[in-house]
């Protein structure tokens, strides 16, 4: 049966009125937006961007290495023209002293090197990122400028940070997550990262915490039963609740993006990620509200969900046996996609993280619908 739009609109209006009459919920949202304003203001106090050298083998200009066409260097060179802090140079122009390449002090360097592959017949392109460390924005040139172009070109990039003993395949998202979990957040705090974290918090509050609070309050008071006994269907009730919280999330996230990164407002991949993450969090919220009988129980369960997520990410990062665990969390994909989409638009066809995210969100949504219809209102 198709939902009746007038009924859904009435129910969305009811949720909106509830929010307007709930000062504490409004205060939380206001504080989140205020926090993004503070971040935006502090952005002006940041130290000037580090200069960064991108060095590459001379052969890359004419040949292919590891399946990499030479137009990658052309792209980098073209993009570097837009900034005075990035220089793209062939390796032959860098001085070497005692087998160490000499860069000016307090300069970052991204070294593109050709390595022989295991079978010896082909070569691979290795990316080594060298930075002076200690400053808050050491990774910024890499994350903000080089990495989006590289991902756009290759899809996946092999990164070696500070030249560790053995390189390992990783993505920038994984790199960001690792640095987050290792506690060196300060080193990574670019405005995109701050915005991505803030967006996740806004979504958690608007979609998970508020939906849990409102729905379990409805249930505890008996208003959910009163609504369920009126001519509306449970699907219409569920749709209205989710629609309202999606709108609220879009409003909150829109405000944060407008303050922190206005240029990203037009990125379709960003909004697609926001939609999926918010929908997933709404579904999680409905599952929690359907499983608990009281508002306090539901709030505690929502907190448990957040803590379980933190534990899962910790385990997945620290112990290889749990590495696959985080691939079952849509937030894992959501965070990476938010971060990348804030930097530059990603063509939806290349946003491969959206597919597993969509599958996980659909799973949560199906569970939420079944639980809400069978026991959520009783």
């Amino acid at each position: 049966m198709m939902p009746r739009l007038d009924k859904v609109r009435t129910l969305v209006g009811r949720e909106a009125l509830r929010l307007l009459k709930n000062p504490s919920a409004l205060m939380v949202l206001g504080l989140l937006v205020a926090f993004s304003l503070l971040l935006a203001l502090s952005r002006n106090e940041k130290s000037p961007a580090l200069s960064c050298w991108i060095v590459h083998p001379d052969s890359l200009l004419t040949s292919e290495a590891g399946g990499v066409s030479s137009d990658f260097i052309e792209k980098l060179t073209e993009a570097a023209k837009q900034t005075k802090t990035i220089r793209v140079l062939p390796l032959s122009r860098i001085a070497v002293f005692r087998e160490q390449r000499m860069y000016p002090p307090l300069t970052c360097a991204i070294e593109l090197l050709e390595l022989p592959a295991d079978d010896g017949s082909t070569t691979q392109l290795s990316v080594t990122y060298r930075h002076p460390g200690g400053k808050s924005d050491v990774l910024e040139p890499f994350l903000r400028w080089f990495w989006p172009i590289a991902v756009d070109h290759f899809g996946q990039v092999q990164v070696v940070e500070q030249a560790p003993a053995a390189s390992r395949p990783t993505s920038a998202t994984a790199l960001v997550m690792e640095r987050l979990q290792s506690g060196s957040l300060k080193d990574l705090m670019s405005e995109e990262l701050a915005a991505a974290i803030l967006l996740l918090v806004v979504q958690f509050v608007t979609c998970c915490q508020l939906i849990v609070s409102f729905t379990s309050q409805d249930r505890e008071r008996g208003t959910l039963t009163a609504l369920a006994l009126s001519p509306i269907t449970m699907s219409e009730l569920l749709q209205a609740k989710i629609l309202f919280h999606l709108l609220l999330s879009a409003l909150g996230c829109g405000a944060v993006i407008a303050v922190l990164k206005p240029s990203a407002l037009t990125h379709a991949s960003l909004w697609a990620t926001l939609l999926l993450t918010s929908l997933g969090l709404c579904s999680v919220g409905m599952v929690i509200a359907s499983l608990t009988k009281t508002q306090s129980g539901a709030s505690l369960l929502a907190l448990c969900y957040m803590l379980v997520g933190a534990v899962v990410f910790y385990l997945a990062t620290k112990f290889s046996a749990f590495a696959q665990l985080k691939s079952f969390a849509f937030e894992n994909y959501g965070f990476g996609m938010l971060f990348l989409s804030l930097q530059r638009p990603i063509p939806l066809a290349r946003a491969t993280d959206l597919a597993p995210m969509l599958a996980l969100v659909v799973g949560w949504l199906t569970t939420a619908t079944l639980l809400f219809r069978t026991r959520g209102w009783r």
Binding site: K7, L11, R14, G222, L229, S230
Partner: protein
Amino acid sequence: MSPGPLWISSLMPTELPATAGLRGQSIVIDGLTVRYGSFTAVDRLSLSVGEGELFGFLGPNGAGKSTTIRVLIGASRPTSGRVEIAGHSLPRDFAKVKPLFGYVPDSENHMEEFSGRENLVLFAKLYDVPLAEVDRALGRLELSEAADLPVRAYSKGMRKKLLIAREILHQPRILYLDEPTANLDRHSTEVVRKLLRELTARGTTVFLTTHDMEEVEQICDRVAILCKGKLIACDTPVNFMTRHAERKVLAQYEQSGQVLREELDLDDDRQRERLANIIRHEACVRLHSQEFQFEDVFLKLTGQIYT
């Protein structure tokens, strides 16, 4: 056909007390059983309620009244048995039945932060009722002055009346009420009772649970008494009292300068003879017939006093 006053109700046929008899059936319950694990909350309950009837559903705490109502409104599934509401089977036709009834629960379930009017406007929109009905319903329950106050500022009685106003907005064919006059003052109780009589006069079936026996006696056309999940009696209040009344007389008489009191059962030969002796030989000061209330019938039938 609307029910007449109580004296007419008492003339209604009582051979099939669990059925409404003369009128079309709004509610038909046949062999309803509800079990929670090994506990049987409702045990093979069968009864029917006619259109426009004001039906009292009584029983001590834990008798199964609320469970039965929860099945009737579709909030619980029966373990076995058949339930038909206005010709629709439950739980199969739940969506068709929903617009046909109103349900006033025993505990209020308003949106506290909304005003009384906002609560009613929401439900008016959901039921496609013209918004003018909101003011009318508020007026009928004497809530017009408090209509724009948040419900959290209402007294318990006002909240109860707002619940009733909400549930009569869409002019339901069947109205279920769980303790509708609890927490109401005398005046408000009368307002609600008058409203219920008006509704039944217009053909609405009212299915009422209450612990107020005076209310049952005053307004119910028929009454069913449930005990431990089983229907133990169903009849009109007048018939109940006629069938189960115990005729007693309180006699006050003077003996040796003292005034004594004695309660005598007129259905007992020896006590009847004793009453005759008092009248003949003692200085009888006062004779007072003891009224047998519906409450006495209820207590007698549910076995709380007489067993």
